[in-house]
């Protein structure tokens, strides 16, 4: 199932690699990603695809020190169009 996530990350050099590693390792394929950076943070919108329930990813992402916030956007619509 595909999920659209919005993630707010502190703007630190390693932060993007760190959450992308977690995404891959926990069994989620990245299908699209957009990053906007402001002075202190990145806002990342990304689409992931996996057979695993999405909370297995979001709970792991929330543990990362640089991740301020994780939001699941519009899961049902995406599931219906999948």
């Amino acid at each position: 199932m595909k999920h659209n996530l919005s993630i707010e990350v502190k703007q630190q050099s390693i932060a993007l690699e760190r959450f992308l590693r977690v995404t891959r390792h926990r069994g989620f394929n990245l299908t699209s990603m957009n990053i906007e950076s402001s002075e202190e943070k990145y806002i990342v919108n990304m689409m992931v695809d996996s057979d695993r329930p999405i909370y297995l990813l979001t709970q792991q992402l929330k543990k990362l020190v640089e991740v301020n916030q994780v939001e699941i956007l519009d899961t049902r619509t995406l599931a219906a169009t999948n």
């Binding site: 050099s13 390693i14 760190r18 390792h25 909370y55 297995l56 929330k62 543990k63």
Partner: protein, 549 residues
């Protein structure tokens, strides 16, 4: 003040008295600042030894373990210890030197992207990019390693930042990560407890991490709930608790595994349903509702769905659990199973029987001693046949299963607890993985005791080759091992070899009575296996027991 001086100063301010490490080019300024400082440094003979000594120090005390290494190969040699600390939630701070900032990315001598390598094996990691950030990063790192679910944190410090001028700025420590459980979940949990007829507590390493042994025992004694423990939890349930079923899982006791399969409520307290614990997950505790208590929300429902969860420090959540009415039939059944499946030590052969040796040693060694082990058959025999009064007295590489863990972990434990008896139990395979640390024992005259159970095999792999690979013993014969007593003698460590059962009791007395370091080399039957065994993919009630040798 230089960055290096600030680093040592902050460690001292944080109460770090002892660190482990190995110097090299990119961390020389920090070693220069160490010279004559109040922080005592222990030189190991390999960076992995320093990492595991710091792990042993942390696990035997609950304090922060600290290790140093230089850039490149020094740092990569720490990686295994970091991964081990990550899997077993050990509070560890690793400080690595890095090539100067201007050289980073130029493939400089001894340059490795350690920050990149750290991502999968640390709770968090930093590379210091600006001198003015150093103080805050170090203080945050020490805090993070110990707060919430503990873990390893790495700080990579380029040499120019170690040498450059910095000012110390006190950092206002962030509050500890202390999630509060939901009252609605507590109500659900207590409802489940009130309905349960066959409840069972499944205890994990989180109890030690939360320093919640008292709260656990209070809960168990009030409820009379039978308890099973993971490898890391051994010692959390006091040995005199009558319904302690010991370790569950692949090499768990039969009573423990059968109780899990029969229970109607599983109260998981700081454990994570590891595959070595559950066997076939779909068949694990399949009749049970599940209550999960953990400080890490990501563990809840990760492998097994739960009916209620309390995400909080165990010290805060455990006292709120309701105390249900004891079911005498269930307790009688548990007691029966304990008797029926009790360990037996009346081994008929003339050879040294490792379970007997370990059980007797456990009874005769001083109270509050620390037992470290390596990984393999001996590790499972230690878990099965030795008793521990606290999990900080049993240091075993659980999640990572790292051979070579035992000797350096024992060094860290002995330095942390100089007045306690510290023993490492190893196999003839594992001991060779960090054998160079005998030099660290000699250098510091540490009274670490070493027991090698020698079957001239990589025994656990050999056992699986016998059972699951048609007896094709690929690369597991170690009959060309060195003479371990001679080897230890080279490092000034006395000891003896035994080969027969009738030598065991006297040999244990000698080992326990020895004042300094000592090695007991026990030759055991190469065909001896660890029983029971839940085969891969099987349910936990499908245990194999002794098969013909």
């Amino acid at each position: 003040m230089t960055g290096a001086e600030l680093t040592i100063d902050l460690l001292a301010k944080h109460g770090v008295k002892e660190v482990f490490g190995y110097p090299g080019g990119a961390i020389m300024p920090i070693y220069d600042a160490l010279y004559g400082s109040p922080v005592k440094h222990y030189l190991t003979r390999h960076e992995q030894g320093a990492g595991f000594a710091a792990v042993g120090y942390a696990r035997s005390t609950g304090k922060l373990g600290v290790c140093f290494a230089t850039s490149g190969p020094g740092a990569t040699n720490l990686i295994t210890a970091l991964a081990d600390a990550m899997m077993d939630s050990v509070p560890l701070l690793a400080i690595t030197g890095q090539v100067p900032t201007a050289a980073i990315g130029s493939d400089a001598f001894q340059e490795v992207d350690v920050l990149g390598m750290s991502l999968s094996c640390t709770k968090h990691s930093y590379m210091v990019e600006r001198a003015e950030d150093l103080a805050e990063i170090l203080q945050e790192a020490m805090h993070l390693a110990q707060s919430g679910r503990p873990g390893p944190v790495l700080v990579d410090i380029p040499k120019d930042i170690q040498m450059g001028a910095v000012t110390y700025q006190p950092w206002l420590a962030a509050d500890d990560y202390k999630p509060e459980f939901k009252q609605s979940e507590l109500a659900k949990a207590n409802e489940l407890l009130s309905q349960a007829k066959k409840p069972l507590a499944y205890i994990g390493g989180g109890v030690q991490m939360a320093d919640a042994q008292d709260e656990l025992m209070q809960f168990l004694k009030t409820t009379n709930m039978p308890a099973v423990s993971t490898l890391k939890a051994l010692g959390s349930v006091k040995p005199d608790y009558p319904y302690d079923l010991g370790m569950l899982g692949m090499h768990g006791g039969q009573a423990a595994n059968l109780a899990v399969q029969e229970c109607d409520l599983l109260v998981c307290i700081g454990a994570r349903f590891d595959d070595r614990v559950t066997g076939n997950l779909a068949k694990f505790a399949s009749k049970a509702k599940v209550i999960h208590l953990d400080v890490d929300a990501a563990e809840v429902g990760k492998r097994k769905p739960v009916n209620a969860s309390l995400v909080a420090d165990l010290k805060d959540s455990l006292p709120h659990l309701a105390t249900h009415k004891t079911n005498p039939e269930w307790l009688a059944h548990i007691s029966n199973m304990q008797q029926q499946h009790a360990w037996r030590y009346d081994y008929p052969g003339e050879k040294v029987y490792a379970p007997y040796l370990l059980n007797r040693l456990s009874q005769l060694m001083p109270n509050n001693g620390v037992v470290c082990c390596d990984v393999g058959q001996h590790q499972m025999w230690v878990a099965q046949h030795m008793k521990f009064s606290h999990p900080s007295n049993h240091l075993s590489s659980g999640g990572a299963g790292t051979m070579g863990f035992g000797l350096p972990a024992a060094i860290g434990a002995q330095i942390a607890r100089p007045n306690d008896f510290v023993l490492t139990v190893s196999g003839d395979g594992s001991i060779m993985m960090n054998i160079q640390e005998l030099a660290t024992i000699r250098r510091n005259n540490l009274p670490v005791k070493l027991l090698i159970l020698d079957n001239q095999r990589l025994g656990m792999v050999r056992q699986w080759q016998q059972l699951f690979f048609d007896g094709r013993y690929s690369e597991t014969n170690l009959s060309d091992n060195p003479d371990f007593v001679q080897l230890a003698a080279v490092f000034g460590i006395p000891g003896e070899t035994i080969t027969h059962a009738n030598q065991v009791d006297a040999a244990i007395d000698k080992l326990v009575a020895s004042e300094g370091p000592y090695i007991l080399h026990a030759c055991i039957d190469d065909k001896e296996n660890v029983w029971p065994l839940v085969p891969p993919g099987a349910a936990n009630d499908q245990m194999l027991t002794e098969v013909a040798k």
